[in-house]
Symmetry: C2
């Protein structure tokens, strides 16, 4: 398997390598005859251009990196799927890089990432979207980035978010409209800005309907199924038991459902349960979870799309977009 380079193609076709390069990139000013000839040699020698060499010359890798630190697998796959869609549309590829926000050496870690592969841009997903430290580092290094689902308003960088507070408000109001007043809440991971947003939506809905906020009804979770199970235990033991639980994501809601069922409670007759995200599990269990559909793929897709735009033209305006979240009512919530 000897290597076929642009030089061998040029030699074989009897033209200069620049002409081969022109054919390769569909540049104008190549006579049809020459183009044909070169294309034939491509086939004959089974030539594939070397992306690294091309990258060096153009100072581009056509690779976008995706950063995440998230216990929800489904969130991650949705993020990836949206990012990939945008990448492939523009002939980019996606490199994934999970790492810990609280790791002792986040910046070193990212620095190492940038030393081992040159990335044209970075998509930051929660909780990185809100990491001031990381953002400053990227700016200093002059790395393009886009932020997904960040709470920070920042006109100097691309950001696509969904309205978490509004979503949490709506789902809480949904529970209230069903007659619930004693509604427990499970918080998400403190590093995620969504946690505060969703909590705030919950509180605002209570206030709006003159229901006193009761700190006893609030449990600390971290978005993981496991943390949901722990919180569920606390909540189900409360006296009197809340008639509804709103968990900050579907995994934790699923955990509440599992523990309630194990305790011989009927859902939703004995207790209503609501989640957030519309993760696959929300419809894979019975009863299906009432939840808020967050357009994760779409957010990420738009973020990456903007990012690629910015890579090709650094002067393009950096947009801030907010997408709507949508209430999805399933079987896990019912009238009191």
């Amino acid at each position: 398997m000897k290597k076929v380079t642009i030089n061998s193609v040029a030699e074989y076709a009897g033209v200069s390598k620049k002409t081969v390069s022109r054919v390769l990139n569909n540049e104008p000013n190549v006579s049809p005859a020459t183009r044909e000839k070169v294309l034939k040699v491509f086939k004959e020698l089974d030539y594939t251009p070397n992306p690294i060499a091309r990258g060096l010359a153009r100072n581009r890798s056509f690779i976008i990196g995706c950063l995440y630190d998230n216990p929800s697998k489904s969130y991650i796959t949705r993020v990836q799927s949206g990012a990939l869609e945008a990448c492939h549309k523009h002939n980019y590829n996606l490199l994934i890089h999970p790492c810990e926000l609280r790791g002792e050496a986040l910046i070193e870690n990212i620095e190492h990432l940038l030393t081992t592969s040159r990335l044209d841009g970075l998509v930051l997903t929660p909780p990185f979207s809100d990491s001031q430290e990381l953002i400053e580092f990227l700016q200093k290094k002059g790395i393009n980035y886009a932020r997904v689902a960040s709470a920070i308003e920042d006109e100097t960088s691309i950001s696509v978010r969904s309205n978490d507070e509004q979503g949490a408000f709506e789902i809480t109001e949904h529970l209230i409209s069903l007659g619930h007043t004693r509604i427990a809440f499970i918080k998400g991971h403190p590093d995620h800005s969504a946690t505060e947003q969703r909590f705030s939506g919950y509180q605002k809905a209570l206030a709006e309907h003159n229901i006193a906020f009761d700190a006893e009804l609030v449990a600390e979770g971290n978005f993981s199924y496991h943390s949901g199970a722990d919180s569920a235990k606390e909540i189900l033991d409360l006296q009197p038991r809340p008639s509804a639980v709103f968990a900050s994501n579907d995994y934790m809601a699923a955990a509440v459902l599992k523990l309630a069922t194990q305790s011989k409670l009927n859902v939703p007759e004995d207790i209503s349960i609501a989640g957030f995200d519309n993760a696959p599990i929300a419809r894979h269990i019975w009863p299906g979870l009432t939840t808020i559909a967050q357009p994760v793929e779409e957010m990420t897709r738009q973020a990456v799309e903007q990012l690629i735009l910015q890579i090709s033209d650094p002067d393009v305006e950096k947009t801030q977009t907010t997408l709507e979240a949508k209430l999805i009512v399933r079987e896990s919530t019912s009238k009191l």
Copy 2:
């Protein structure tokens, strides 16, 4: 933000770029004084070497590609997590590339991938692990690859699998030992070799215990939750109803559980349900699913580890490894 290259560092430090390169790569034969001086300039200028230039010179990208076409998100994230572990250990990065086995242009798709990013190797996950067409293409192109969970015995390439047939045999035997004889089976996607393996394990266990195989009890699934729900409908309508269902993966088993519960059947009292894979959902639902734990992360980790070994030394022996699957009994199966 002006670029800091090896040339500027060399000039600033008053040494040749080769010496800078030596310091960069921790090569011997640099006097401590010179090394110090250069390292100081690195800091001072905030120099980061360009991975693309390095890649060109070394003919390496230090990027591994991961191919998949799989409806199970949890399978994919487990694959990614195992692959990432091995990659990061050796300073590689991971590029993900989902694509369709049956897409009109698989080879063109992969060719395009290789044209847009130079990958040092490829991890093939099911169903690509068994795609003869793809494997021939990669061999022709001289691309290193490793196959995960493939059924094909092939001494010429790296392969790490788990014993699916044995696992299916065990779980079927588990059901039989509980007194079940009318055991329905839901097949996986026909493109996946695991489908045939698991089916075969099911049949062998029946035979071993002198239970006649009944084709009526076999439904065609494709590993997706949705297909499991379709199959579940068929199976639950059978007269008499089977007393147990063994679905080829946990998503389909979860679908059976959901439909059974919706039909007011109690699991496992009225019907036992078993899955395969030990996906997160198996323990996130109630009752938890009896299933086979497949070491997906470990398989992928080992495959990538071998792959990286092969990249650095093409003459290293290509190993074939088989890992054990393990029966996990939860609440979804019980005595007849």
